[in-house]
C-alpha cells in the first residue's frame, strides 16, 4: 500500500538453514520433519555436562558462498560468541552465535531497481522446539521440549533498513531464496522452516529522516504472508500515529487465521545476553585462497543472469528480471531457446503461462509449444491446452496436436474456399466493408472462426481482405 504522506522503512532479518547433513557443532544428522521427538540428539546438542562444540565445515562453506554471492566483505578472522539466556528450548543456556566478528559484513543484493545493503551474514545454531499443552501459549500450564532441531545450523542474514514497501520486502525474500538456491547454500523452503523472514518495520512522515519506532514481526511462513503481515502492520502503525497514539517497540506475531499481527508477551525485563567469546572454539581463520576458490566455483548469480538475458536475447529488462528471479524459470527459458524457440515468445510464454501456474514444463514441452504457435500451426489457445496436457500426461506436443485435430489449416487454396463461403453467407457485411466500413471485417472473421476453428487466423484474414478488394 502507499499511504500518502508516510514513508515505510523495513529492515529484514532472515534465518536460513544451510544445506548440511549434520548439525552445526555435532555429528547428529538433521532430523526429517516427521521424526519422533528427541530422536536426533547426542550429548553435544543435548547440552550434557562435559561436551564441546566442533564446527561443521559444510555450514561454514555455505555461509561463505552466501556471503560472496551477496557481495560481502569476508574478514581474515572470525569467531563465535555465547549469547546467554535460559529457556527450555536452549539446552546449554546459551546459544553459540557470532557477535562482533561475524563471518562476513557489508554486502548488497539488487532487488528490482533497488539495492538493499546487507549488514552481515553470520552463523549460529537453532534452538529446539516447544510444544505447549493447550492450543494457546497463554493458557499453557506445561510445555514439552523436542531437541531434534537444537544445534541445526542457521545463517542469519541481516539487511540495512533499505526496503520501502511490503512488495519490496517480499521481492527481497524471493530474491534471497533464488540466490541461496543458485549457489547451493540452502533449499530455502519457507514452509519447511528453512527460511524464516523477520521484518523490522517502522513508518515516518515523508521528508523526515529520523527513524520511527519499529516493531519486529515473527511467525511468518510464506512469501504471501510476509507481504500481508507487513501490509497489515504498516496500516496499523500509520493509523496509530494518525490518531495520536504511539507505536510501541515490541515483537509482534502474525496470525494466519486472523490475518493480523498481535503483540507477543513483552518480557518482564529486558534480557541482557551477556555476549562473550566462546572459549570452547578458537578463532576461525578464513584463508583468502579458500574464499577465492569458492568464489570461482559459484554459478552465475541471478543479477548477472538478468543482465545477460537482456544483452544476449534482447529481452526487455522487465522480462529478464522476472525470469532471472527464479533459477528454474531462467534455465527453462535458455533451454527452450537452445531447443529452437524464439526468445521473446518463449519469454512471453514463461511469464504469462508458466510462472502464474503451479507446474513447470520440461524444456522440450515448452519449446515445442512455442514453436508450434509461433509458426502458426496451432492457435495460442490451443497451445495453452497442449502445454497443460503435455505436463499432465508427459506426452509430446506433436502427438497431442494430431490427436485433437488442432493442426491449423494453412493451405492457401483450402483457406480461400472457406473464405469464399463466408463472403457468400455474409453478403451484407462484405458489402459494408467494401463501402468503407472497416469494422465489418470483424463479423466476417467471427463467422469464419465458427465455420473453421482450425483456420490459420492470420492467413485467413489476409485472404479475406484480398478477396474483398
Amino acid at each position: 500500500m502507499r499511504a500518502v504522506g508516510w514513508e515505510v522503512v523495513i529492515g529484514m532479518e532472515v534465518h536460513v538453514q544451510p544445506t548440511t547433513r549434520t548439525k552445526m557443532f555435532c555429528g547428529c544428522a538433521i532430523a526429517p520433519l516427521n521424526a519422533p521427538p528427541n530422536s536426533h540428539t547426542c550429548p553435544v546438542c543435548l547440552g550434557l555436562p562435559g561436551v564441546l562444540p566442533v564446527i561443521n565445515k559444510a555450514a561454514v562453506e555455505a555461509c561463505l558462498k552466501t556471503a560472496v554471492a551477496l557481495n560481502c566483505e569476508i574478514p581474515r578472522h572470525t569467531k563465535f560468541d555465547r549469547k546467554n539466556y535460559m529457556y527450555p528450548d536452549l539446552p546449554k543456556g546459551y546459544q553459540i552465535s557470532q557477535y562482533d566478528l561475524p563471518m562476513s559484513h557489508d554486502g548488497h543484493l539488487e532487488v528490482g531497481e533497488r539495492r538493499v545493503r546487507i549488514r552481515r551474514v553470520h552463523l549460529e545454531e537453532d534452538t529446539g522446539k516447544l510444544v505447549h499443552a493447550g492450543d494457546r501459549l497463554h493458557k499453557a500450564w506445561e510445555s514439552f521440549v523436542d531437541l531434534n532441531r537444537a544445534g541445526v545450523p542457521l545463517m542469519e542474514i541481516v539487511s540495512e533498513p533499505d526496503i520501502r514497501s511490503a512488495e519490496e520486502a517480499r521481492d527481497y525474500a524471493v530474491a534471497l531464496r533464488t540466490l541461496l538456491r543458485t549457489v547451493g547454500a540452502s533449499e530455502a523452503d519457507m514452509e519447511k522452516g528453512q527460511l524464516r523472514a523477520e521484518p523490522n518495520i517502522s513508518v515516518r512522515r515523508t521528508g523526515t529522516t529520523e527513524l520511527g519506532v519499529k516493531t519486529e514481526l515473527k511467525n511468518i511462513n510464506s512469501f504471501r504472508n510476509l507481504y500481508r503481515a507487513i501490509d497489515f502492520e504498516v496500516k496499523r502503525q500509520i493509523e496509530a500515529l494518525e490518531s495520536g497514539h504511539d507505536v510501541v517497540q515490541e515483537t509482534r506475531g502474525w496470525s494466519d487465521a486472523e490475518q493480523r499481527t498481535f503483540s507477543q508477551r513483552t518480557k518482564e525485563f529486558a534480557e541482557d545476553y551477556r555476549y562473550f567469546p566462546e572459549p570452547d572454539l578458537p578463532p576461525l581463520e578464513l584463508d583468502p585462497a579458500w574464499i577465492e576458490e569458492l568464489r570461482r566455483a559459484l554459478p552465475e548469480l541471478p543479477e548477472a543472469r538478468r543482465v545477460r538475458l537482456v544483452s544476449q536475447y534482447a529481452l526487455p529488462l522487465h522480462d529478464a528480471s522476472l525470469i532471472a528471479a527464479e533459477r528454474e524459470l531462467a534455465d527453462l527459458f535458455e533451454g527452450a531457446v537452445r531447443a529452437g524457440a524464439d526468445a521473446k515468445p518463449a519469454a512471453n510464454w514463461i511469464i504469462g503461462e508458466v510462472a502464474p501456474g503451479g507446474s513447470v514444463p520440461t524444456i522440450n514441452q515448452l519449446a515445442d509449444v512455442v514453436k508450434l504457435v509461433t509458426s502458426g500451426s496451432i492457435t495460442r489457445d490451443q497451445g495453452r491446452e497442449v502445454l497443460a496436457e503435455s505436463i499432465r500426461s508427459q506426452r509430446s506436443a506433436g502427438e497431442l496436436v494430431a490427436e485433437r485435430g488442432f493442426a491449423q489449416v494453412s493451405d492457401e487454396s483450402e483457406l480461400e474456399a472457406i473464405v469464399r463461403e463466408v463472403i457468400a453467407t455474409n453478403a451484407k457485411a462484405a458489402a459494408d466493408y467494401q463501402a468503407g466500413k472497416k469494422q465489418a471485417l470483424g463479423a466476417l472473421m467471427a463467422d469464419l472462426k465458427k465455420k473453421a476453428p482450425n483456420a490459420n487466423p492470420k492467413m485467413a484474414n489476409e485472404i479475406l481482405q484480398k478477396l474483398l478488394q
Binding site: R21, C26, N38, S39, I55, V131, E142, D146
Partner: protein
C-alpha cells in the same frame, strides 16, 4: 564498588538463582568484598593492551559434514527429571504468575 540490594536482585534474576531469606545481604556483602579486591585492576592502564580470550594459539579445526550415530530417544531422556511421550516436560513457559 559495593553491590546494592537492587543489583543483587537484578543479577540473581539474570542468573536464574532464587533468593531466599538472607541471600540478598549475603551476596551484597560478600560480592562487595571480592569486588573491592578486584577493583585493583583499575590501577593498570590497559588502553593499548589487547584482550586474551584464548591463551594458546590453536586455529579452529573444522569437522567434515559426516553424520555420527545419535543417541536413541530412550538414551536422550534417560536422565530427564520429567519426560512424557518422548518429550522433556517443563512447567509453563508463561512468565507472569
Amino acid at each position: 564498588m559495593p553491590l546494592s540490594r537492587d543489583q543483587v536482585r537484578h543479577v540473581a534474576l539474570l542468573a536464574r538463582l532464587g533468593l531466599e531469606q538472607g541471600d540478598e545481604d549475603f551476596y551484597a556483602e560478600q560480592l562487595s568484598g571480592i569486588l573491592r579486591h578486584i577493583d585493583r585492576l583499575q590501577e593498570l592502564n590497559t588502553d593499548a593492551i589487547p584482550p586474551t580470550a584464548q591463551v594458546v594459539e590453536v586455529a579452529a579445526t573444522l569437522r567434515e559434514d559426516v553424520p555420527r550415530p545419535c543417541l536413541t530417544q530412550e538414551e536422550a531422556l534417560a536422565n530427564a527429571p520429567a519426560a512424557v511421550d518422548g518429550f522433556f516436560r517443563v512447567p509453563s513457559i508463561q512468565e507472569e504468575a
